[in-house]
C-alpha cells in the first residue's frame, strides 16, 4: 500500500514529473537510435546526477532505462536495426510489417504491449519486493555468498554465445574489482606500487569506458563494414491507425509475455533478450496463425515487446533486496545509490523505504509517459533520428565520454581508466566476450568477497559451511544447474546444426 502515498507525492512534484517526462523522451530517442543503448546513455549521464537529489537522479536514470528498452523496438521496426538485443525478437515481425507499409500499426502494438508488460512487471515488483526483502534480512553471510555465486555462474554462463568466455568475462570483472586496498585488512592488491591504483578502479569511469567509448569504437568498425551506408526505410505516416479489433488478438500474447518477462526479470543476469525470445517462441507455439509469424504478424510484435519491458521492474528486486543487480542498467543504478550514500540491500527497506516506493512510483509514471509519447509520437521520433547525422553524433559521444568520466571525481586517473576500459570493452565485444557479465561481476565482487570471508571466519576457515547450510547449498546447486542446462542446450543446438549441415 506504500505505493499510493508515493504516487501522490511524485504527482504533486512538478519538477520530478518534468524529469520523468524528459527521461522518457531521452530514453526513447536513445533506444531508437541504432548503435546507442540505454546503458550507454545512463553511464554518460551518471556524473551529471551527482549534482541532483537522490530520488531525482535515480528516477531520471531508471525511467531512461525503461524507456530505452521500449525505444529499441522503434529502430527494430523501422530501420531493421534493433536498438537493443531484446528488440531483435521484435524485428522478426516488426520489420516485415514496416515493409508492408504498416510501420505505424506495428509501433502502436509495440507501444501498448510494452506498457502492458512494463506495468505488469512493476506491479509484481511492488507487491513482491517487500516479501523478498523480509526473507533477505534473515539470510546470513554463507547464504548471501551462495546467492552471489549463483549470480556469477548464471550471468557468466547463460548470457552470450560461449559459456567459457562468459565465465572468463565474469572472472575478469572480479579481478578488476580486486585492485586496490583490501577493505578488511587494508593490504594492497594488484596496485604495483601505484597510489592511484590503491584507491581501486572506479565504477563510473569503467561503465563509461565499456558502454560509451567501447560503443564508439564498435560503431567506427560497423561504419567501415557498411562503408558508411546507413540503411533507411521509407516511412509512410498515413493510414497506420490501430483499432481495438486489430489489437484484441495481441492481448493474450502481451499478458503472457508480461508474466514471462517478470519471471525472468527477477533472476539476475538473464535479461530482457532471453525473455523476449522465450515469449516470442511461446507465443508462436500457441498462436492461431503460426504461419504468419515471421512474415508480419502483429502478435509477433506484442509477445516479445511485453516480455522485454516486463523484465525492467522485477530486475530491480534482487538489486534492492540483496544488492545484486540483475542487469547492466541495475549495475549502474547501484552506483547511483552508492554515490548518494544509500546502502542497497535488505536494510534499505528499513532505512529508505519511502525513497524506494517513490522510485517505483516514478517508474510507473515513466511507463505512462513513454506510452503516450510513443503512441502519438513514435513516427516523429523516428523521423528525427533519421535526420541525426551519425558521423557527428559519435564524435560528440566520444568527447562527452572523457569529460563525463573526469566530472565524476575530478580525477585524471579516472579518464585514463575510462579510455583503457573503452578499448577493452571493444575488444571484448569483438571477440565475443560477455561485457555485461564483466561489468555486473565487477559490481558484485566486493560484496561477494565480504560475505565469503565472513563465512570463512564463521566456520574457522572451513568451506563446508556453504554445503552444510541448506539455503546456501540450494543456491550453489541452482547456479550449477543453470550452467548444466546451458551446456546441454548448446550441445543440443550443435547437434542440430551438424544434422542440418549433414542434410545440406
Amino acid at each position: 500500500m506504500e505505493i499510493f502515498p508515493a504516487l501522490l507525492s511524485v504527482i504533486t512534484d512538478p519538477t520530478l514529473l518534468f524529469a520523468i517526462v524528459l527521461a522518457a523522451a531521452v530514453g526513447m530517442i536513445v533506444g531508437a537510435t541504432p548503435g546507442l543503448t540505454a546503458s550507454a546513455a545512463i553511464a554518460m549521464l551518471l556524473p551529471i546526477t551527482f549534482y541532483m537529489p537522490p530520488l531525482f537522479a535515480l528516477a531520471f536514470l531508471y525511467v531512461i532505462g525503461k524507456s530505452g528498452r521500449y525505444g529499441g523496438s522503434v529502430a527494430a521496426i523501422l530501420f531493421n536495426t534493433p536498438g537493443t538485443a531484446a528488440s531483435a525478437a521484435t524485428q522478426i515481425d516488426g520489420y516485415p510489417l514496416a515493409r508492408a507499409g504498416k510501420a505505424g500499426k506495428a509501433m502502436k502494438v509495440a507501444t501498448i504491449s510494452s506498457v502492458i508488460g512494463d506495468l505488469m512487471g512493476d506491479i509484481m515488483l511492488v507487491v513482491g519486493v517487500g516479501f523478498i526483502a523480509s526473507i533477505a534480512l534473515k539470510l546470513g553471510p554463507p547464504e548471501t555468498f551462495a546467492i552471489y555465486f549463483a549470480a556469477f555462474v548464471v550471468i557468466g554462463s547463460v548470457i552470450g554465445k560461449s559459456i567459457v568466455k562468459g565465465l572468463a568475462s565474469a572472472l575478469l570483472g572480479i579481478l578488476v574489482a580486486m585492485v586496490g586496498l583490501d577493505p578488511i585488512s587494508s593490504e594492497e592488491r594488484y596496485t604495483f606500487g601505484s597510489f592511484d591504483l590503491s584507491n581501486g578502479i572506479g565504477l563510473v569511469p569503467l561503465m563509461i569506458g565499456v558502454f560509451v567509448l567501447g560503443e564508439v569504437f564498435a560503431q567506427l568498425e560497423e561504419r567501415k563494414k557498411t562503408k558508411g551506408e546507413i540503411k533507411e526505410n521509407a516511412i509512410d505516416p498515413t493510414g497506420h491507425s490501430l483499432t481495438y479489433e486489430e489489437y484484441k488478438p495481441c492481448i493474450p500474447h502481451a499478458v503472457r509475455g508480461g508474466f514471462i518477462g517478470a519471471g525472468i526479470g527477477v533472476l539476475p543476469g538473464l535479461g530482457s533478450a532471453i525473455a523476449a525470445f522465450i515469449s516470442y517462441g511461446e507465443g508462436k507455439r500457441r498462436a492461431k496463425n503460426p504461419e504468419q509469424w515471421g512474415k508480419g504478424a502483429l502478435e509477433g510484435v506484442a509477445a516479445p515487446e511485453a516480455a522485454n519491458n516486463a523484465v525492467s521492474g522485477p530486475s530491480m528486486a534482487p538489486l534492492l533486496t540483496l544488492g545484486i543487480p540483475g542487469s547492466t542498467i541495475g549495475a549502474i543504478l547501484l552506483g547511483v545509490f552508492l554515490i548518494h550514500g544509500i546502502q542497497v540491500g535488505p536494510t534499505l527497506f528499513l532505512t529508505d523505504k519511502e525513497l524506494v516506493y517513490q522510485l517505483f512510483a516514478c517508474g510507473m509514471l515513466g511507463i505512462v509517459a513513454y506510452g503516450v509519447i510513443g503512441y502519438f509520437g513514435a513516427t516523429q521520433v523516428a523521423r528525427l533520428i533519421l535526420k541525426v547525422p551519425v558521423n557527428v553524433l559519435y564524435p560528440l559521444i566520444f568527447l562527452t565520454a572523457f569529460i563525463a568520466s573526469y566530472s565524476a571525481r575530478g580525477s585524471m586517473f579516472d579518464v585514463t581508466v575510462m579510455t583503457v576500459a573503452g578499448f577493452v570493452g571493444w575488444l571484448m565485444r569483438k571477440y565475443d566476450f560477455n561485457v555485461a557479465a564483466f561489468v555486473i561481476s565487477f559490481v558484485l565482487a566486493k560484496g561477494a568477497e565480504e560475505t565469503f570471508r565472513q563465512s570463512l571466519l564463521m566456520s574457522d576457515g572451513g568451506a563446508l559451511i556453504f554445503v552444510e547450510r541448506p539455503i546456501a547449498a540450494s543456491f550453489i546447486l541452482l547456479g550449477l544447474a543453470a550452467m548444466g542446462f546451458r551446456i546441454r542446450s548448446i550441445m543440443k543446438e550443435r547437434r542440430l546444426a551438424e544434422g542440418g549441415l549433414g542434410d545440406a
Binding site: 594488484y190 569504437f217 568498425e221
Partner: protein, 180 residues
C-alpha cells in the same frame, strides 16, 4: 562478429579449411592471452601478505579467481586445438576498421594525457575536428566550427553550469591564458 566471408572465385573446400585454421589459431591466441593474464593475476595475488591471526588472507579471492581463469583459459586452448583437428569450427572474426580503431584509441590516449599538460580547452579544440574527420565529416567549415564550438559547449555545460573544476594544464593552459 562471427561471419563467414566467401569469395565467389575461391574454391570453397580450400577456403573453408584455411578459414578453420585461422579461427582455431585465433581462439588459441585468445586462450593464451587469458592464460597469461591469469598467471600474472596469480603472481599478483601471491604478493599479498599473509593473514594475521584470526583473519582471512586478503589474497584468497584474487588467487582463487585467477586459478579459475587459468582453468578456463586451458579449456579454451584445448577446445581450439580439438576444433582445429576435427574441423568443426565454423565462424571467425572480421578485421574491418581495426586500424582505424587503433588510431582512434591512440588519439584517445594522447587526448586524455594532454589534459594534464594543456588543460581541457586546447586538446578538445584539436581532437574534435580530428575525430569528426575519422567518422567521415569532410566539410571544412564544419570542422573549423567544431574547433570553437566543441570546447565551448562542453566547457559551459560541465565547468560552468555543473561547477566541475576543470583540469589544469601544467605546461600551458589556454583557458587560464584567455581568462588572464
Amino acid at each position: 562478429m562471427n561471419v563467414v566471408r566467401v569469395s565467389e572465385n575461391s574454391d570453397p573446400d580450400n577456403l573453408l579449411s584455411e578459414f578453420e585454421r585461422e579461427t582455431g589459431m585465433e581462439r588459441q591466441a585468445e586462450g593464451i592471452v587469458l592464460a597469461i593474464l591469469a598467471i600474472l593475476a596469480i603472481w599478483g595475488a601471491w604478493q599479498v601478505p599473509g593473514a594475521s591471526p584470526g583473519d582471512t588472507w586478503a589474497g584468497i579471492v584474487p588467487f582463487s579467481t585467477s586459478v579459475a581463469l587459468l582453468v578456463l583459459s586451458s579449456l579454451m586452448i584445448l577446445s581450439s586445438i580439438r576444433a582445429s583437428s576435427t574441423g568443426r569450427e565454423m565462424a571467425g572474426s572480421e578485421s574491418h576498421g581495426t586500424v582505424d580503431i587503433l588510431i582512434l584509441f591512440a588519439i584517445a590516449m594522447i587526448y586524455q594525457q594532454s589534459f594534464r599538460w594543456f588543460g581541457y580547452v586546447l586538446p578538445t579544440a584539436i581532437v574534435a575536428p580530428v575525430v569528426l574527420y575519422i567518422f567521415g565529416v569532410r566539410s571544412w567549415v564544419g570542422l573549423a566550427v567544431s574547433v570553437v564550438l566543441c570546447p565551448l559547449i562542453f566547457h559551459i555545460l560541465f565547468f560552468v553550469l555543473l561547477g566541475v573544476f576543470p583540469p589544469y594544464g601544467e605546461v600551458f593552459d589556454l583557458l587560464d591564458w584567455l581568462q588572464g
